[in-house]
């Protein structure tokens, strides 16, 4: 039954899920989720462009102490 359920899911959807999982494993943030968060909780704040968002993210990711082990 479970195999049917998995097979019934569109391959494109499965691929999207795998893609999102890989991005998260690398530690990449989700731009759409962040925009949704800003719209819902901080409507007064400006929404950054995807590029601004990526830059800000990289700055915090690699600027706050070691993120990787030896």
């Amino acid at each position: 039954m479970r195999a049917d359920a998995a097979g019934g899911r569109a391959p494109a959807e499965w691929l999207r899920g795998a893609h999102a999982a890989l991005r998260r494993m690398l530690g990449m943030p989700d731009y759409t989720a962040h925009v949704a968060h800003l719209r819902a909780r901080h409507p007064d704040r400006p929404v950054p462009t995807e590029r601004e968002f990526c830059e800000e993210y990289l700055r915090t990711r690699y600027g706050n102490g070691p993120t990787r082990c030896c």
Partner: protein, 679 residues
């Protein structure tokens, strides 16, 4: 209940039988299968019972309590993440070159002592450390180790921890760079492939920023394809009469190039070089580790190295020192690694969806890393002992030629012929594999051996260079990320003296502090390259001591968290490992400074060199430099030991005050908020 225990009992028995087989078959060849079975059996039983005990009784993980990812969700760093995805993220961040190099070096004692330490060290100490720091940080809105040390113990301890992290970074970067130098010296194939990673990373950087913004996976796939092309093209470069000499570099030249690279990478914007490299090495790391696991499972190679060698007496050629304490210093990552405390209090705690996930990610992630270390040990132990020592002993011990090396190694009681060494070098596409101390090359030979048996013969040179590329790639990633982190820490410190220095994007400040950090690790790297004893002999123990020191800090913070939470009766879960680490680090540090054996003790080596200078058998300028370096190393070891003792004393005082009720413990935990997630 009794029925559900049965499979675990069977598993425990299987593990016990495997350990017994290894123990009883002394002097005969044992299959790697037993090592793997013993390790996995122990891991599963420990995970099922000990980590459950920690999760429920000691920490009291509570799924009704909202995690920082839920409460502070912002779609950026605080993001509730599926358990297995986060496991992958955390594992990729903690696994690096450490768990691969340490076991290979410690294999000079034989495969058994190192394996026992890797397996039992992780379940009782390493995984406990990672788990408790992840737990503590998760309950404190994702605070870092340094911040927790400051909040829980005091500002003095916090500052000391930050200074210790900076010092450890310097030694770590130097020793890892030395591993790369020893792997790539006089190897045009390797140098070409590694050099190609720089333009490939820059191309990926522009792709993700200019051509197709944010398309990380797409750019990574392009990068990986180009990387494999570069690997294949390396063979052509190595055989080209024009290009091969251009890519054949001496050890000192390579050290210079690495320093230049570290400096440039630290000053360039992150998106251009550092971030794309990081993605590339993450994929390579996970892919290769899976490949190695499959290879070992398919081949189940016999272990040719003895279970225990005569070098447990401290006369080992790879590094000096007896089994205790040096086996436990040499293998840091893979058994217990203080560096993990930085990762466990970094990005991971901000991504936990529910509290109970911390068990799989904190404890389980570290157990997985330990498994990587066991596989590295297997890869080293499939080599003939003679070959292992020919690859790992320093050049000064072996003499310059395969003939002299074979003679020296026969003197140790291991058979190896000059023809065998020549054939081996030829089979992996190199001119020589002698004295490539540092673990990476012998691991690569072992991996190439396993891969060619598992996935087809004839590709051995390609597999060897693939393994070298894989290790060098993420060592270089550590090198540039580490230099950058060191630069930020230094800028922060300097900012207290003169404000503008703290502006991280101000070029004069960035350039000056990058140069200082590169100069610091570069100095130790150069010292290692020129060291007649092989460099690894002095630098790797210093790195081990410093990494274990950080682990001691993490365990002190963990113990404080437990005592303040009124769980002092469970404090043995961290105090036991802490006591062991203190015994190991302080003994090792003392011996490295004061031992009479000039190969072991820094000060007695300085005296030997001084005597040679007085007798006129050593160039005075060279001698003076060696004496200075010995004394410097002794001072560094002494500083690490002093910091450890001071930190532990500060913590013990704090614990005594709380336990005798002379001080009211202040809970720093974020208040309880009930989760909105359905259970």
């Amino acid at each position: 209940m009794p029925l559900s225990i049965l499979p675990w009992l069977a598993l425990a028995l299987a593990g016990a039988v495997a350990w017994g087989t290894i123990a009883l078959h002394r002097g005969e060849t044992v299959s790697a299968a037993w090592l793997i079975l013993a390790a996995v059996g122990t891991y599963l039983v420990a995970y099922r019972f000990y980590s459950r005990f920690l999760a429920t009784r000691v920490f009291g993980l509570d799924d009704r309590r909202a995690t920082p990812a839920e409460r502070l969700e912002n779609g950026r760093d605080f993001v509730p993440t599926a358990k297995w995805v986060l496991f992958g993220h955390h594992f990729a961040a903690i696994a690096g070159a450490g768990p691969l190099v340490g076991p290979v070096l410690a294999a000079q004692f034989g495969y058994l002592p190192g394996t026992i330490w890797i397996v039992f060290g992780v379940v009782l100490a390493g995984a406990v450390q990672d788990f408790i720091i992840l737990f503590g940080s998760m309950r404190r809105d994702g605070r870092s180790l340094g911040q927790m040390a400051r909040d829980e113990i005091g500002p003095f301890t916090g500052t000391l921890t930050m200074a210790a992290i900076l010092a450890i970074m310097v030694i770590l970067l130097a020793v890892l760079a030395l591993v790369v130098v020893n792997a790539l010296r006089d190897s045009p194939w390797g140098v070409f492939t590694i050099a190609c990673t720089i333009p490939i990373a820059i191309l990926m950087g522009f792709w993700m920023r200019v051509i197709r913004p944010g398309r990380t996976i797409e750019a990574s796939l392009i990068g990986l394809t180009l990387l494999l092309l570069a690997l294949v093209a390396g063979r052509w470069v190595a055989t080209s009469p024009v290009l091969a000499p251009a890519f054949t570099l001496s050890a000192t030249a390579l050290a210079g190039w690495l320093m230049a690279y570290g400096f440039v990478a630290s000053v360039l914007p992150v998106w251009m070089l550092l971030a794309p490299r990081d993605y590339l090495s993450t994929f390579m790391k996970i892919g290769t580790i899976l490949l190695l696991a499959i290879g070992i499972m398919l081949v189940l190679p016999p272990l040719r190295l003895p279970a225990v060698t005569r070098f447990v007496d401290g006369t080992g050629p790879v590094f000096a020192g007896k089994l205790f304490p040096f086996c436990f210093i040499t293998i840091a990552c893979g058994a217990i690694s203080g560096f993990h405390a930085l990762v466990s209090s970094g990005t991971t705690p901000k991504m936990l969806r529910r509290e109970s996930d911390a068990r799989l990610i904190g404890y389980g992630g570290m157990v997985m890393e330990s498994f990587v270390a066991v596989m590295a040990m297997c890869a080293a132990a499939v080599l003939d002992p003679g070959v292992y020592f020919a690859v790992n002993a320093p050049l000064a011990t072996l003499g310059g030629s395969v003939e002299s090396a074979a003679q020296v190694i026969r003197g140790w009681g291991f058979a190896v012929t000059p023809e065998q060494m020549r054939a081996l070098a030829h089979s992996v596409g190199e001119t020589t594999v002698l004295a490539r101390t540092g673990g990476a090359p012998s691991l690569a030979i072992g991996m190439a051996h396993i891969f060619s048996r598992a996935f087809g013969d004839g590709l051995t040179p390609l597999w060897y260079h693939f393994a070298i590329l894989f290790e060098a790639l993420f060592i270089l990633t550590t090198l540039d990320a580490g230099t950058r982190v060191g630069r930020f820490m230094l800028q922060d410190l300097a900012g207290h003296a003169w404000k503008p220095m703290a502006r991280t994007s101000w070029y004069p400040s960035a350039i000056l502090s990058s140069a200082l950090v590169v100069g610091a690790w570069g100095y130790f790297l150069r010292q290692g390259v020129l060291d007649p004893l092989g460099g690894i002999n002095s630098l790797w123990p210093l790195f081990g001591i410093s990494n274990q020191l950080l682990a001691a800090v993490a365990l002190c913070v963990g113990t404080t968290i437990l005592i303040k939470a009124g769980k002092a009766r469970y404090a043995w879960v961290t105090l036991g490992p802490l006591a062991w680490l203190l015994a190991v680090t302080l003994t090792a540090g003392w011996q490295k400074i004061f031992a009479d054996d000039p190969r072991l003790g820094f000060l007695s080596h300085a005296r030997t060199v001084a005597a040679q200078m007085a007798a006129g058998t050593l160039d005075p300028a060279k001698g003076a430099r060696l004496v200075f370096n010995d004394r410097l190393d002794a001072v560094v070891a002494a500083i690490f030991m002093t910091v450890t003792v001071v930190l532990v004393a500060a913590c013990v005082r704090e614990w005594a005050l709380i336990l005798t009720r002379r001080k009211v413990p202040v809970a720093r935990e974020a208040p309880f908020v009930e989760t909105a997630y359905a259970s």
